[in-house]
Symmetry: D2
Subunit: 348 residues, 4 copies
Amino acid sequence: MIVAMQEKATEEQIDAVINVMEEAGVDVHRTTGEFQTILAGVGPTATLDLTKFEMLPGVLHVHRISAPYKLAGRAWRPEGTVVEFRTGAANNKAPGNKASIGGQQVAIIAGPCAVEDREQIFAIAESVKRAGGRFLRGGAYKPRSSPYSFQGLGIPGLELMREAADANGLCVVSEVMEIAQIEPMLPIVDCFQVGARNMQNFNLLRELGQVRKPILLKRGMAATIEELLLSSEYILSGGNYDVILCERGIRTYETSTRNTMDIAAIPVLKKLSHLPVVGDPSHGTGRRDMVPAMAKAAVAAGADALLIEIHPNADKAVSDAAQTLYLDQFEKLVAELRVLAEAVGRSL
Amino acid sequence: MIVAMQEKATEEQIDAVINVMEEAGVDVHRTTGEFQTILAGVGPTATLDLTKFEMLPGVLHVHRISAPYKLAGRAWRPEGTVVEFRTGAANNKAPGNKASIGGQQVAIIAGPCAVEDREQIFAIAESVKRAGGRFLRGGAYKPRSSPYSFQGLGIPGLELMREAADANGLCVVSEVMEIAQIEPMLPIVDCFQVGARNMQNFNLLRELGQVRKPILLKRGMAATIEELLLSSEYILSGGNYDVILCERGIRTYETSTRNTMDIAAIPVLKKLSHLPVVGDPSHGTGRRDMVPAMAKAAVAAGADALLIEIHPNADKAVSDAAQTLYLDQFEKLVAELRVLAEAVGRSL
Amino acid sequence: MIVAMQEKATEEQIDAVINVMEEAGVDVHRTTGEFQTILAGVGPTATLDLTKFEMLPGVLHVHRISAPYKLAGRAWRPEGTVVEFRTGAANNKAPGNKASIGGQQVAIIAGPCAVEDREQIFAIAESVKRAGGRFLRGGAYKPRSSPYSFQGLGIPGLELMREAADANGLCVVSEVMEIAQIEPMLPIVDCFQVGARNMQNFNLLRELGQVRKPILLKRGMAATIEELLLSSEYILSGGNYDVILCERGIRTYETSTRNTMDIAAIPVLKKLSHLPVVGDPSHGTGRRDMVPAMAKAAVAAGADALLIEIHPNADKAVSDAAQTLYLDQFEKLVAELRVLAEAVGRSL
Amino acid sequence: MIVAMQEKATEEQIDAVINVMEEAGVDVHRTTGEFQTILAGVGPTATLDLTKFEMLPGVLHVHRISAPYKLAGRAWRPEGTVVEFRTGAANNKAPGNKASIGGQQVAIIAGPCAVEDREQIFAIAESVKRAGGRFLRGGAYKPRSSPYSFQGLGIPGLELMREAADANGLCVVSEVMEIAQIEPMLPIVDCFQVGARNMQNFNLLRELGQVRKPILLKRGMAATIEELLLSSEYILSGGNYDVILCERGIRTYETSTRNTMDIAAIPVLKKLSHLPVVGDPSHGTGRRDMVPAMAKAAVAAGADALLIEIHPNADKAVSDAAQTLYLDQFEKLVAELRVLAEAVGRSL
């Protein structure tokens, strides 16, 4: 950490700051120039609340100079993490449902916003298989902003999804919204999704650190890249190293898309962290007509996977209809992405 | 709802849109001008996912023309809601610990970010009493963005706070972070706070709708005013009508304050809703030196209460030190606010 | 400046960075801790493009530790600047048209978005006088976002405003949009306003540094507080020390108000700079019904003046109608502000 | 336009609104449902200030239902605009310096932030030619946020750039910062760039509408897509139809990149407008290490051209050093983009 003192800081103020730093276990190096004194602190600053230094008398600025996360940092695993999937269904007999995210191949994760019925989810699973995707994602618990909207089928919805996935050799990804849902979901899903609204639900993250299935962690609507990495640290520090990060658009003043998809977050995350990164052009734009262009942009920028909302009757989907692709649109898009992936040195 | 068709929309497309609207139970009125057709829909549109209309062929724009919330709307209770407090502690013997938020008087809610020990919380409770405040707020469960930071004392911390409050005739406000905490907290606290990160934790909100103690609902860091009102609707629709809204700063590009306190949200919320509104200048600015000016601004703009972080040894507070006032600063500020409140037709 | 090196930075990389710093005339102090080397640089860093250091091999972060502005800084004039006004009209015979902004008294600057005709501007000037205000502001050149909107009356409009101001003992404030307008405006106005869209029109600012009349500089819609101060530095460094800063709302994701008025910018600017600060609740909210609450908030937070849009027939104003107060609303508001100003130790 | 009345609006209020609409030349269609009256207005609403309706008594919301721009709209030229370049230098003898932006081929526009000297600009021009690019872009007038920074070489810098361009068969693109610069620049440049800070400098835009050379119009740092199109309308309505739009990143709360490059703006603009769209990954990220990924993302999303900052000695560039590619990095990137362009059905 660096504490830059004001030009007019007194020796007394400087000593007081040094004392507080040393009390916190920090080793202090002082540099006094012509105008200003700078205190460089080395030690356990990652776990320190730096804001407390900002208000000490005579202090101008305080800067953190090391990243506040460790396990999520690229330095921890410079070669990058590849998350391997294995189905969690005890009764699983379907062959070939192993897959990975983070390697040379770009993965396709697709499905409906909400599981609605058997016919719907089977049609979707078959489309994912046809397209060459390996992950079926669908919502069973739906966090809706209005209390008057459809709230999801719950466990029966998950079981339908499991069946459809097994029949097509796919893995199941579904959102967990609270701690109590982990246990019933655990035998059914292959990967827990943490939604944007729960990115800083630290109790939930801590519990998921105890689970031994991969976690797909979505960036919060107004979260910084650093905050996303700090949230992943909660899971990693519990011993669950299979975390996948997801860029799904942030909130800005622009309203022509539902969110502003921060495509640059993909290469920035790949540089700062060893964890795989997924792009979600469906939530990232909120508009079906923009999904293909943004799916391509995400792959071109280095995404390890895409998360795409699809539905056989997209306009009648019970939620997020506007951003959902029809199955034929989806299959055509994946074919185009396959060509693109090769042009950037990946496969799909 | 209004559906504006594109200039080139065909009769077939218009009919298809009318069909989808009518299937959703909406009564449709068609207006065709020289260039464009407009479809006005009346009916159960509050519970409708309007985005599904946006992608129908030939549609230009879809607008919601009625607010998607009902119970939170000003029209529901034009005279405004006054939330009355009564202590929930079974063994409570302290006199005078009734209070209200939303009436003519501006309420003061103050306390530490985190309860640390008996000495700390008693010193604070005495200061709140001296200043004329009626609400002691402190954190027992702390949602920290780093897994390596202090996480709060839990129930023993709440019990300390209850004791300090009772000894000084104060009500207890504390944050609930998940459903499992409601039951143990219920006999101890007088008011549950829902933090910014949980504003859209709809399962938690729904449970709090079943509770019969007031809820202080903080605006999410990137939530719109409409989303805050929709979240309050979750609680109200469960039958808990004692909801207090809180403006605590939103995330913007400006970094000289930790958040940008949206003071205008106070009069906007007062206009749109009957619920009382609290201003939180501590989180709103993140800087102790800006708290007084912003506390005054909030009262001048019509806030029904202020939420202020205080600590006898603010620089050593275990969290949020930079934004925490010393007790003497707090008491001086409340004295100044008393004069100000009268200048805007309130008391304190 | 501080350069924090990466943990794995080599001695070679560190030496290379030191070289670049020294070439730039910076005196370097090196601190090497257990993990990391920190380079503190003292010297002409205010004029240095620090971004060039960020990309040097082995560099983790670069921080500026001194403010990049000097003349605008509070340290330059700790006692604060009071801008004194004198009318610029050669033929001015009206008595009493001296005034100031930045002292103990809160100034009222009011007028129409656009000067429309003699009757309108005289009615407004009389209202400003009745309310006790000293500044008449109106637009003669209108920067409209649509090329098809009304663009202003130009110099004849300014002359009408001068006449109305002289008849009522007021000073004239009007926006200058480009360098070529300075000369014709100079004999007519008492104060040049630089609009939000021109806050970083550095050529215009440089020219205004040569003028010897006060400049009211509005914060850009997406400008940081530091950028506003840097822009004021352009004017100050030309020798024109009479600069007044204006907070008029910034662009955020919230749409219930046209802009989000950053009330905290007022006390932050007062702390960082010696320049007077004006609040503009009209542009800050874009809504007539929110102007009174936000005008009060601005004064409570320490504003030295208010800029308010008024019109005798507000709903028919040719521009910005929604945010414009009727004259009676304005006069009532100023009466209320007078009481409020006293409650915060000011007069009006 | 649509005016949605409040549920409690009186007949008197409704009539008053209808009157104001009709006075503005709008043809009104009224729909009264069970709860609410809706007024649909058809007519010259593009040039109308709709905000004035928002504050009329009894009005709930006002919506614009047609785009406020016309000439920039896709409907004006459904086939899309291809901007053809021809060199403006009278003494130009170099062969092959014709090029286009907006067709099947993706164009490369590259150069230094600021022209520094002959050696620098010739080295850069040769690199652009080697890479297969056709546009040399460099700054002669530099809008710097600090008055103490390098401000550019002016016309001599442009002449150097012209010479280097002619020697390599390139077109010259350079930024115009004010009206007075148009005339001296006109004989030298092939394309005027309007920078982000001038996107709403409407006087400048209007003058550029009179010019008969292409204009590259950058999106403002906080401008919406609609505002960018309205600004282009200023130029188009003067008769200059050769406008190229540029996405260069918007300001958000995220700080890991200098701006947040809104890649989705590219396909959105392509859908709404017929004008070509350029992506600027240099300003879009502000970081050299992120330029390649974002250049690829822009092309994958449909950009018609890229604008890339390059310098033979990037770390010593006098401005924007951090975001500037070295020449070999640039040439390698263009080779990779060539493969990518083909994968999305373009050439380069």
